[in-house]
């Protein structure tokens, strides 16, 4: 085996960072937890829990329209959280940030509120072969409903979307190009800027599923040149059940409401209702107030550590893990893009991914086994499922070694 000498240290104090995540100290089946399911969901730092407790114990009330102090405080906290999201994405204005339940809801919002008014019979929606079901099914439903055609830019053997294929599938009928910034199943980082440029030249709007990218790299929606960008709080060390959608102001302005009820209206009578401006137009009902506070705390935590430092540390872990996994007999990596996030999907000859998942769990190692909500990706690579180890900012080289050791135990057991 090669040495560990090649790996450098993170720019932050890893031991202190790990101490910020109390769950990392627990044991699973009598062994230290090795949490490598970060692409599914991330663990939470104390700061996130503290922000939620602070909301409940210090300033909780319903937001908007309240005259009393707590309601004003809660509204201010929520709008501060919106500003935190704006800054995190470098969006031009906080009014372009819509709080959602997560990436899935953000994409559904665009597919319905923008799609229904702008995609008609004979029009086309272009996605790619590496999409999570959440960036596939809403478009498929829209196309079925509107008589439009769903086109899919294929992925190659590395799990990359060749730009010439993407470009070839764009046409004057393409109304939307929707694609992931980073593939959850393969780790591929898409060249969003180039793809957005091509799509805009064809006259399409660009919707980016940012769920996997936001925790791992600096995202600047203006530099990317997209029109909508959706992400989830729970994948970025924040609470589950909250996320955000950024949309270009002129597009949001022209969109009808999505869900309707309280909070999204200006005037209501039995004859006619007028609607609030974005972003409130798209936020019907009492929102997840404490969730927004938790999300802001998570984004602040990441900003303090520094996303470049996180990205560079995860790059080190990816390189080490790739090397260690390829040393294991019969292991095949699925997804070998040249630009890749710290996600390793793999199969092992003679051992089904679900058996691997069970065996690794007994060793305290949490990975995911299955189709990762990307069944077409599995079909593309001719596998029913893969095992997937995905790394986060708190993972260590020792955990890479624990993964490799557990995979060797599996190899021993299955012969």
């Amino acid at each position: 085996m090669s040495t560990l000498a090649a790996i450098s240290k993170p720019a932050y104090d890893l031991a202190r960072v790990r101490a910020d995540f109390p769950i990392l100290a627990r044991e699973i089946h009598g062994r230290p937890l090795v949490y490598l399911d970060n692409a599914a969901s991330t663990q939470k730092p104390r700061a996130v829990a503290a922000a939620i407790v602070d909301c409940y114990e210090g300033w909780y009330a319903n937001v908007e329209r309240g005259v009393h102090t707590l309601s004003q405080l809660a509204t201010a906290h929520r709008e501060r959280a919106r500003e935190t999201v704006r800054r995190f994405l470098n969006a031009p204005s906080a009014e372009e940030i819509v709080f959602t339940r997560g990436t899935t809801e953000g994409i559904n919002l665009v597919a319905e509120a923008w799609g229904r008014g702008n995609v008609g019979p004979g029009d086309e929606v272009l996605i790619t072969g590496l999409e999570h079901h959440s960036n596939l099914v809403p478009w498929q439903r829209l196309c079925e409903e509107r008589g439009a055609l769903l086109r899919v830019a294929p992925i190659d053997d590395r799990g990359e979307v060749p730009l010439e294929d993407f470009e070839r599938l764009l046409s004057p009928r393409t109304r939307v190009a929707a694609f992931a910034h980073i593939s959850n199943a393969l780790g591929t980082v898409n060249p969003v800027r180039e793809m957005a440029g091509l799509a805009h030249r064809a006259g399409a709007i660009v919707v980016v599923d940012g769920a996997q990218a936001v925790p791992h790299m600096t995202v600047d929606v203006q530099a990317l040149g997209c029109d909508f960008y959706a992400f989830s709080g729970h994948k970025v060390y924040g609470p589950s059940g909250i996320g955000a959608l950024w949309g270009r102001r002129e597009l949001l302005d022209a969109m009808p409401p999505w869900q309707s009820g309280g909070g999204m209206v200006r005037t209501v009578s039995f004859e006619k209702t007028t609607y609030a401006e974005p972003s409130h137009r798209f936020e019907a009902g009492t929102p997840f107030i404490e969730g927004a506070a938790g999300l802001a705390a998570a984004l602040d935590y990441l900003t303090t550590l520094g996303l470049p430092a996180v990205a560079s540390w995860e790059g080190e872990l990816l390189a080490l893990a790739t090397e260690r996994l390829l040393e294991i007999p019969g292991l095949r990596l699925v997804g070998t893009a040249r630009s890749k996030a710290a996600v390793l999907s793999f199969t092992m000859e003679g051992i089904h991914p679900h058996d691997l998942g069970t065996i690794l769990d007994q060793e305290g190692v949490a990975i995911r086994a299955g189709h990762h909500c990307a069944q077409p990706v599995m079909q593309r690579f001719g596998v029913p499922a893969t095992a997937r180890a995905s790394f986060g900012l708190y993972n260590t080289p020792g955990e890479v070694e624990a993964l490799a050791a557990a995979l060797r135990r599996a190899r021993e057991l299955f012969g």
Partner: protein
């Protein structure tokens, strides 16, 4: 590792590596498919049923070690049994992998190697998939069966 050896007993690993009665059955007069779309396990069970007895049985498909070995050992256990005996074994097997062996239940023979499955609730559906496909074949159901709602 001890717990793992309880689940992955040598007999199970052997049947996973070299499944018995694997393939189609030309004389089959019943067949049914089991499919767990969430995990991707797929199994087709073929039966040659005559005079109220399973004359022959085979399976094909792909899945994890637990579902493959379960299908393989199932085919070995069933040859020559009557439909009633088969239903009894099905219930006995189901009890074995969910609660442990039933007092007064049928003699499960080699199928006892699946007793470790009950410690792994997420894997019960793997062990029972081929058995539910078998029951669907016996009952002449033509919809694929799934065990993903089962615990």
């Amino acid at each position: 590792m001890n717990d793992l050896r309880d689940l992955y007993q040598e007999v199970i690993l052997d049947h996973n590596r070299r499944p018995r009665n694997f393939g189609t059955l030309p004389r089959a007069n019943r067949l049914a498919e089991g499919h767990n779309p969430l995990c991707g396990d797929r199994v087709t069970v073929y039966l040659d049923l005559a005079d109220g007895r399973i004359q022959d049985v085979a399976f094909e498909g792909s899945g994890c070690a637990i579902s493959t070995a379960s299908a393989s050992l199932m085919t070995e256990a069933l040859k020559g049994l009557t439909v009633e005996e088969t239903r009894g074994i099905f219930h006995g097997f189901h009890e074995l992998v969910t609660h442990g062996e039933e007092a007064g239940g049928p003699d499960l023979g080699k199928l006892e190697v699946f007793s470790g499955v009950r410690e792994f609730p997420m894997r019960v559906k793997c062990a029972t998939l081929p058995w539910h496909a078998l029951m669907a074949a016996l009952d002449g159901k033509d919809q694929p069966v799934s065990t993903e709602q089962e615990r």
